[in-house]
């Protein structure tokens, strides 16, 4: 029972569950099997439904807590950006959407950056939060990723990117499209510095995110069953007017088609990342720096 070792320690768990406002009697339903799980049990199991193995979305800060040694990490501040340069409104004003998402998540935008150690190795990680406007890639998210990659270069650390996004943030129009080449510039900086870049694709990762930094890692890891693709399934169905095959655009499908190196259960994620970073950086000696 390997996963038991990876389950977060109770003391730490109580720290974050106290912060959040979850009703005591909350039960969560597995989207796949309909199985009901008590939220505490779900959290204790890293948001994986115990029987079905379905990987639920998890709060972005939890990624850091579970990734870094001793759950100890430094939050890296991300740059402030110009708000709503397009003065965009659809059925709602973009500034109102931003305000609502900030209130809901407690974060400024969709990408958080943290630095610490993973099994002794220096790592900077970024996490994309699907709960913040679908994890969409706008200027703030782009700047946060660039900042994170620059921080990795400054610290001579590996960079780990947890993706979760519906794609570009349409409310920022062309500026959102520009985050594709902009983040790619930062990927090039990592590469030139000889630092490993690991991508962890989580459910879902689509559009301009997949078509830029999410597909440029040295190693691509996917969580089981994640939807990963360029065009969303609905767009493809409308274009070709036929039903899509079972399992299309899921992690296992991408693995089979050569786009993903490993499909890794969340309970094995930390160990896998630690091992990859150690193997990739060992020759440079960076992995030997004491914690």
């Amino acid at each position: 029972m390997n996963w038991i070792n990876n389950v977060v320690r109770p003391k730490i768990r109580s720290l974050w569950s106290a912060k959040r406002d979850v009703p005591e009697n909350l039960w969560v339903k597995c989207p796949e099997t309909g199985e009901m799980v008590f939220h505490r049990d779900l959290e204790a199991n890293q948001w994986v439904i115990p029987n079905s193995g379905y990987h639920m979305r998890m709060p972005p800060k939890e990624r850091f807590v579970q990734l870094f040694d001793g759950s100890d990490y430094e939050a890296i501040a991300t740059p402030a950006v110009t708000q709503d340069p397009l003065k965009f409104r659809d059925e709602k004003r973009y500034v109102d959407r931003l305000r609502d998402s900030r209130a809901k998540t407690g974060n400024d935008d969709a990408v958080l950056v943290g630095a610490g150690r993973v099994e002794g190795n220096a790592v900077v990680a970024a996490v994309q939060d699907f709960d913040f406007m679908g994890g969409s890639l706008g200027t703030a998210a782009g700047e946060a990723i660039i900042r994170g990659m620059e921080e990795a270069v400054a610290r001579s650390a590996a960079f780990v990117m947890f993706t979760a996004s519906g794609g570009a943030r349409m409310q920022e129009g062309i500026l959102s499209l520009m985050q594709m080449p902009r983040t790619t510039v930062a990927v090039e900086m990592l590469r030139e510095a000889g630092l490993p870049y690991l991508v962890v694709l989580t459910n879902p990762t689509l559009g301009g995110v997949t078509a830029s930094y999410a597909m440029l890692g040295d190693v691509h890891i996917a969580e089981p069953g994640a939807l990963i693709g360029f065009a969303g399934p609905r767009v493809i169905e409308q274009t070709i007017r036929e039903k899509l095959p079972e399992g299309f655009q899921r992690s296992e499908y991408l693995h089979e088609h050569g786009m993903v190196d490993l499909v890794v259960h969340r309970h094995e994620m930390r160990a896998t990342i630690g091992r990859l970073v150690r193997l990739l950086t060992h020759a440079k000696g960076t992995a030997l720096i004491p914690a």
Binding site: A168, M170, G173, L177, M180, R182, L216
Partner: protein, 319 residues
């Protein structure tokens, strides 16, 4: 037979009458209608000028997609001598949605990548309406890497609704192909100059438009998603494409204002299709001048110039 867009109806009516009167005059009837023809021609020209000086973003999208608009093949034909098309990604297949090849541009050997939509049913199918699959982007990468090795500057002509959304394209890694193509642009030690000649559709466009200099034709559009796509996602109503086009800031004039592109290339009154040679010549001039600014620059400088340009985007914007 000229094709008219919906909003060009007043022009179509006037130009139609001119044609009728001219036919009448030519038929040998000695009617005193020369003055009428001249008057009508003036009104038609005036109507055209009026409409085209205040095109809405949605109207521009239609002009950008006009069936008679000059396409990549026309630019290549007029601007490139010794044109030698190259095919295939060496992995899976040939994708005619992206043309690629070598040739000579105003005395300079160059590599060219251009998205081609086709102009009739047969060519539209052959070019897949300008919507490339992964092999198209992988061919582009191959040509870019070759251009880099042989020190050839690159011209990229952007005209696509977007990368093709299909099962095969996903299966073969559409997202990866686009990401790698953008990365390949960023690695070039030779200058790359992009011109959006029609539609710059999202990731499908940026994959070949991560360039040292990016220009747009006056009535071209460049956006993260088509107005129709944005309307159906954000307004849940594809009929709201006009609102989406307006809100998303997709015109060349908007993109200059946001510091995304380096300049606008003027079109004749009534759009590029009314005088293709003139537009193609103007595009040639702009590309030539852009290349000249990189003469004598080192490969590292050219690469650094491109990176700086993209990193700077959005950093100086005012709310």
């Amino acid at each position: 037979m000229r094709s008219y867009l919906d909003f060009e109806k007043p022009i179509a009516d006037l130009e139609g009458k001119v044609q009728e009167l001219k036919a009448l005059a030519d038929s040998g009837n000695a009617l005193p209608i020369d003055d009428d023809i001249a008057k009508l021609e003036t009104s038609a020209a005036q109507a055209l000028a009026d409409i085209y000086t205040r095109l809405t973003p949605w109207q521009k999208a239609q002009v950008a997609r006009h069936p008679d608009r000059p396409h990549a093949v026309h630019y290549i034909e007029k601007l490139i001598s010794d044109w030698t098309p190259l095919s295939g990604d060496r992995n899976f297949g040939e994708d005619a949605a992206i043309l690629a090849g070598l040739g000579s541009f105003r005395g300079r050997p160059v590599a060219v990548i251009g998205q081609e939509k086709g102009h009739d049913t047969q060519t539209r199918i052959r070019h897949n309406f300008g919507m490339a699959r992964p092999e198209g982007y992988r061919k582009a990468i191959r040509i870019m890497e070759m251009a880099d090795r042989f020190n050839l500057p690159l011209i990229s002509l952007v005209d696509t609704a977007g990368a093709y959304p299909g099962i095969g394209a996903e299966e073969r890694g559409q997202a990866e192909a686009i990401a790698r193509s953008t990365q390949a642009c960023l690695r070039l030690g030779v200058p790359i100059v992009s011109v959006v000649i029609g539609e710059g559709g999202s990731g499908g466009a940026i994959a070949i438009a991560t360039a040292n200099r990016v220009f747009m034709l006056e009535h071209s559009i460049y956006s993260v998603i088509s107005p129709e796509g944005a309307a159906s996602i954000l307004w849940k109503d594809s009929a709201k494409a006009q609102d989406a086009a307006m809100n998303m800031r997709i015109t060349a004039q908007d993109l200059v204002r946001f510091g995304i592109i380096d300049g606008i290339i003027e079109e004749p009154v009534g759009g590029a299709h009314r005088s293709p040679d003139q537009v193609i010549e103007a595009v040639g001039g702009v590309i030539e001048a852009a290349f000249a600014t990189f003469d004598g620059k080192s490969r590292d400088d050219i690469r650094a110039d491109r990176r700086r340009k993209f990193l700077a985007i959005g950093r100086e914007l005012k709310a």
